[in-house]
Amino acid sequence: MPSLLGNVFKGWSDYSKGIEQGGNQKYEHMFSMSIDLDKCTGCNACSTACYAENNLAWVGEYKFASRQSMHWMRIERYFDEPDVGSSDPESLDRGASFLPMMCQQCNAAPCEPVCPVAATYHTVDALNAQVYNRCIGSRYCANNCPFRVRYFNFYDNAPTAWPAPMDQGLNPDLSVRSKGVMEKCTFCIQRIRGANETAKREGRELKDGDIVTACQQTCPTSAIVFGDLLDKTSEISKIWKRQQVKLGTYKQEKENKDLRGYRIFEELNIEPKVLYLERVREV
């Protein structure tokens, strides 16, 4: 009995502390990603790698067309249509621009405060974690996500996606989600945890390059860079610095206006942690 009440009150005090201090601010790492759209060829390899790495269920053509698919990493195509403000009349001939879109791991994520059961929360790694076992499927988080990158298990997808013996090929490092829970890009949390364990076993700090996400690993043009923003020497920190993009603001004030780095929807004050580098056209 003492442990029961003790846990309850401890949970409460942790919880209220979190509220007063504006959430968990003691980050051990701050994982971030940058995607160079100029390098992106729209080959969809990252999306495919994500399916393989994260046990994403394929849902079939019909459900995909009904937008009930589970692709955590999706390649969006955009065309500069001549009649919508593009100055170049032949802009359509140049083909599409591609935008790989996945969870932006916002530091002030709008999905987190609205979950009734706190199934999604911010970790000390500054990741937006989703606890599948806690999720009851109210789907408020997905409604409040401006990027629409939260995917709901509308069906029990596993039996159709991996009929035996295909289920033998599933990644054993993470679970297969059941019907009725929300899921989304985790920045390959299983790889982050694995690298952490390795570093601990070898008695050293986590260093840049220890963690490689599936999409980053697969990208043929190395458009994706992943790393820890708190580590000032890491590649990703250098990119953010080089592009003069800062966290903690909803409006970037760059000295050099020609720099390509930007964050999507940062004006909503949600602190997305994925840096996109604008595509440059030789017009």
């Binding site: 009930q68 109210s138 789907r139 408020y140 990027f147």
Partner: protein
């Protein structure tokens, strides 16, 4: 001028005939609880069938997954949440009639507040179904309640859905209490006039009511207390429901005026529903002497005023969006008016803001058939309003990739229809088991009316009939 006007009878002017004998009131109401006619059984079976369809749809959805509702990655909420808001809204007018009008001593509410209060309770019970059935993992719905867990896990108190759960459960508890406590003297009357299982039931429920002074004193105090308690609760419940949207960052949802707008909309649809049930009860139970035309007239006027408040708040929202610089919100507003959902949007505007102007006509207000249909259409408008709050925003949020139009599947429509069946089932059982007109309060009303004169009523009577009204008496002179 008297040539132009037909002579008005008592029935057309007075809220209630003050010469009804008390025994007749008892008999009329008690008779309404007996001998259900064929129509009653038909309605009951129909409601049960509708509810059966809902159960079938729920089982189907449970087995196959939420995807059968045709919801998608952009549209995570649809008709379930709009029906939830709709039914919560319906529940507000019972409180308006029974608690607010009780405090301001508007005694014309007395013959009609009981069924309105029952409507409150039952529509809350209906509304409560929707947040549960819309969950992906229904079987874990109780996780939103802060129960003692050994793992020290609490729900997320920042989430508006949690506030919803608290607000609705406390509102439901209080309105059940209010309904029940207000019914105790009537249950005692039922106890004294019935036999068999009913006698057992009413004996238990009337808590030994004898009607002595002490009991009445406690009763009055308790009733007033709960009425005072219920009013802020009613306002807060729908404000909190509105925060499901207002606390989100989505364009079209993130609107500061949502709480008053939702409360006005709630009172509006509730009043319209009261008119519908008023007409039905008056017709089927032959309650012409209690649910009189002047009372209907007053409810209609009340509905009109609330409709105008709702319209005003609607226009405020539109103009705030229009003159603001929030481009996505503006785009959503334009899409509502011109996009694929525009027919429903304009339907909402027509039924919600234009149709109520027909209530300005006295001939319309006093025509049962017309009022029945108007009240139904007002509620159709209010249902569309809720749908137009939820869906267009989701079809056009911030990210262009998420833009799409989605139509609810049969599962969702079955649930919406079934909720009316469930409500009808509860209400039909209620009217045969409990007195749906408050006997003791109608007696009070008759008693007070007999001893008070209303200058305006007398003047009208004189004007139309040429017969001078009764001499003015004060209430004190007739005091008990």
């Amino acid at each position: 001028m008297s040539e132009n006007h037909q002579h008005l009878t008592n029935e057309q002017v007075k809220d209630i005939d003050e010469n009804i004998a008390w025994a007749k009131i008892n008999n009329d109401v008690l008779n309404s609880m007996k001998n259900p006619r064929k129509g009653y059984w038909v309605a009951l079976v129909l409601s049960a069938l509708l509810f059966g369809v809902m159960i079938y749809a729920e089982v189907y959805q449970y087995r196959n997954g939420m995807g059968e509702t045709l919801l998608n990655t952009s549209h995570m909420w649809d008709l379930y949440i709009s029906s939830f808001v709709f039914w919560i809204g319906m529940s507000h007018s019972g409180t308006l009639l029974s608690a607010i009008l009780h405090l301001v001593h508007a005694d014309w509410r007395k013959p009609i507040y009981r069924f309105a209060e029952a409507m409150t309770t039952f529509s809350l019970l209906t509304a409560g179904l929707f947040p549960v059935i819309h969950l992906g993992r229904v079987w874990n719905f109780y996780w939103v309640m802060p129960y003692m867990s050994d793992r020290g896990i609490w729900p997320n108190f920042r989430s508006p859905l949690i506030w919803d759960a608290f607000a609705i459960t406390s509102y439901l508890t209080s309105s059940v209490l209010f309904l029940y406590i207000g019914m105790i003297p009537d249950l005692a009357i039922c106890r004294d006039n019935t036999t068999g299982w009913r006698k057992t039931l009413y004996t238990f429920l009337s808590l030994g009511w004898r009607g002595d002074d002490r009991q009445w004193r406690h009763f009055r105090f308790t009733y007033l207390m709960i009425a005072c308690f219920l009013i802020p609760l009613a306002v807060s419940v729908h404000s909190i429901v509105s925060m499901d949207f207002a606390m989100a960052i989505m364009p079209g949802w993130h609107v500061t005026t949502f709480p008053p707008y939702f409360v006005a909309g709630a009172l509006y649809s509730g009043c319209a529903a009261i008119i519908t049930l008023f007409v039905l009860l008056r017709y089927f139970f032959k309650f012409e002497e209690y649910m009189t035309m002047p009372i209907l007239d007053k409810v209609c006027k009340l509905t009109f005023v609330i409709a105008m408040v709702w319209t005003y708040l609607n226009l405020i929202e539109f103009s705030a969006v229009w003159y603001g610089h929030d481009i996505p919100s503006k785009e959503v507003l334009i899409a509502k008016a011109t996009g694929p959902y525009s027919i429903f949007f304009w339907g909402m505007m027509f039924f919600g803001s234009v149709l109520p102007f027909s209530l300005l006509s006295k001939a319309v207000r006093r025509n049962m058939k017309i009022m029945f249909f108007i009240s139904i259409f007002l509620n159709v408008g209010m249902f569309l309003e809720r749908w137009m709050i939820v869906t267009p925003t989701l079809s056009m949020g911030y990210h262009p990739q998420g833009f799409n139009v989605m139509w609810p599947g049969w599962v969702e429509w079955a649930m919406v229809g079934g909720s009316f069946g469930w409500f009808g089932l509860l209400f039909l059982v209620f009217v045969k088991v409990f007195p749906c007109v408050s006997m003791y309060e109608v007696k009070e009303m008759v008693y007070h009316r007999k001893r008070t004169t209303y200058a305006d009523v007398d003047e009208m009577m004189e004007l139309h009939s040429g017969v001078p009204g009764p001499e003015a008496q004060t209430q004190q002179s007739g005091g008990a």
